[in-house]
Every structure is written in structure tokens, then in C-alpha cells.
């Protein structure tokens, strides 16, 4: 029973981490046209043995993608320099969509295991109900 409870906690931590990854992906997509925006990258790390919540996953520090910003030619833009260019963002929509899809897939896998552990617990408790 305690193992099943642990399974619920693990699956819950996985869902939480994937949800936060999806949130950062959404922020990136929302800011795809913001001048000077660098895309945020979520990192995952697992909690080491001996710490509270060992084996769970959690999100680490958010880092910024340091690749070059896109140079956009638009002389009428207030941020444009002498050559008529200004910095765009380095968000690539294709990458963000793929990342969001992967987060969804992992989230569903965690959800399925959560549900299975829940059903196993309740069928265990059904034994007492007779």
C-alpha cells in the first residue's frame, strides 16, 4: 500500500514538472514576436536518494537560450538602428510546438500511471469492504 502511495506521488511530481515545462513553452510562443526575447528552457532533475521526496522529478533553474537573436529589417520600427534592423526573438515555433507535444505525451503517461495506481489502491481497499 505504501508503495502504491509512493507511485501516486511520483506520477504527481511528473505531471507537475511537465505542466511547468508546458507553461514555459507557452510563454515562448506568446513572446515569439517580442523584440529581444530569448526563449526559456526548462530543465529536469531527479531528487537524489536520502533527500525528502527521493526519486521524484522536479524542474531545475530556467535557462535562457543563448543562440543569436533574429535580425529583422524594418526601418519604420522605433527600435531600428542606422541600418534599419532590430533584434527579434530567437523563438522557433516549430521547436516550441514539438516541445509542447512531447510534454503532453509525457504528461499523459504520468496521468495513466497515476490512474492505475489509484485503481490498484481502491481494489485493495475493496477487499475490506465485504
Amino acid at each position: 500500500m505504501s508503495d502504491l502511495m509512493k507511485a501516486l506521488t511520483f506520477a504527481g511530481s511528473g505531471m507537475e514538472a511537465q505542466a511547468s515545462r508546458l507553461r514555459h513553452t507557452t510563454e515562448n510562443i506568446a513572446n515569439a514576436d517580442t523584440p529581444g526575447y530569448r526563449r526559456k528552457i526548462t530543465s529536469f532533475e531527479s531528487v537524489l536518494n536520502g533527500m525528502p521526496g527521493a526519486g521524484e522529478v522536479r524542474t531545475g533553474r530556467v535557462s535562457l537560450d543563448q543562440t543569436d537573436l533574429e535580425r529583422i529589417y524594418d526601418p519604420s520600427h522605433p527600435l531600428s538602428d542606422d541600418t534599419g534592423h532590430h533584434d527579434g526573438s530567437n523563438v522557433d515555433l516549430v521547436i516550441e510546438i514539438a516541445d509542447a507535444r512531447e510534454a503532453q505525451r509525457s504528461y499523459e503517461a504520468n496521468l495513466r500511471l497515476f490512474d492505475q495506481a489509484r485503481q490498484m489502491t481502491s481494489s485493495l481497499l475493496d477487499l475490506l469492504r465485504r
Binding site: G14, E56, L113
Partner: protein
């Protein structure tokens, strides 16, 4: 049957083994995107049971001598192919294992329940 209830003990061990396995699978799936994470797995239940009277095999003499049914399942490295970030979890394989675990747990609980039914019937309660 009534002296030491082997079947109940065996069913309980199988259910508890399935619980351990489920928690290991959940841990793997939660860490499916963690760089450098190695997938884990639990030793097979069949490896814990010798073919003599369904007694549990013990790793140390003196273990499991009485009615105790400690869970001897060991957590070992699951192997598997390594992704470029050093992660060895395969979601598909974990889902397969989750299905097997569910099956084993259901089996254990069914055996337990019907053994209890037989016992109830034999003491005249229905």
C-alpha cells in the same frame, strides 16, 4: 490449508511485489525527460519463489521463517537504450510493464478474495 495459509501469504506477496513494481515504473515515467537518469526495474516475482510448497526464498537464513512476508524485491538497473541526454527510459516499455503489473495485482487480489470466501464458507458464514 488452515494451519499456515500458504496461499494467502503467496497472494499477499504477489500483491505487494506488484505495488513495488508500480512505484518503480511511476518513478521511471516521472523521470522520462531527466538527463542522465537510468531506468530501474524490479526483480521478477518468479525469482523470489522456489518450487517447494510456494515458500519464499530468503536472501539470508532466518528471514521469512515465520509468518513474516517481507518484500524481497530488489530494485536493479533496467538497461535499455540510451538517449543522447543519457536517459534510458522508454515510455512504451514502461507502459507494457505497467500492464503486466496491473494484471499481476488483479490476479493476486482475486486469489486472495476467493480464498477468503472459501474460509468464510467453511466457518458457516455466507
Amino acid at each position: 490449508m488452515f494451519t499456515d495459509m500458504e496461499i494467502l501469504r503467496l497472494a499477499q506477496s504477489l500483491a505487494s511485489h506488484a505495488g513495488t513494481r508500480q512505484s518503480v515504473i511511476a518513478q521511471n515515467v516521472a523521470n522520462a525527460d531527466t538527463p542522465g537518469y537510468r531506468a530501474k526495474t524490479v526483480t521478477d516475482f518468479a525469482a523470489l519463489v522456489t518450487d517447494t510448497h510456494g515458500q519464499m526464498r530468503s536472501s539470508r537464513p532466518g528471514h521469512l521463517s515465520g509468518s513474516s512476508t517481507a518484500n524481497l524485491a530488489e530494485v536493479v538497473d533496467g538497461g535499455g537504450r540510451e538517449a543522447p541526454n543519457g536517459n534510458t527510459v522508454s515510455l512504451e516499455a514502461e507502459m507494457m510493464r505497467a500492464g503486466e503489473t496491473r494484471h499481476a495485482h488483479d490476479l493476486a487480489l482475486s486469489v486472495y478474495r476467493s480464498s477468503l470466501d472459501i474460509l468464510r464458507m467453511s466457518v458457516g458464514r455466507r
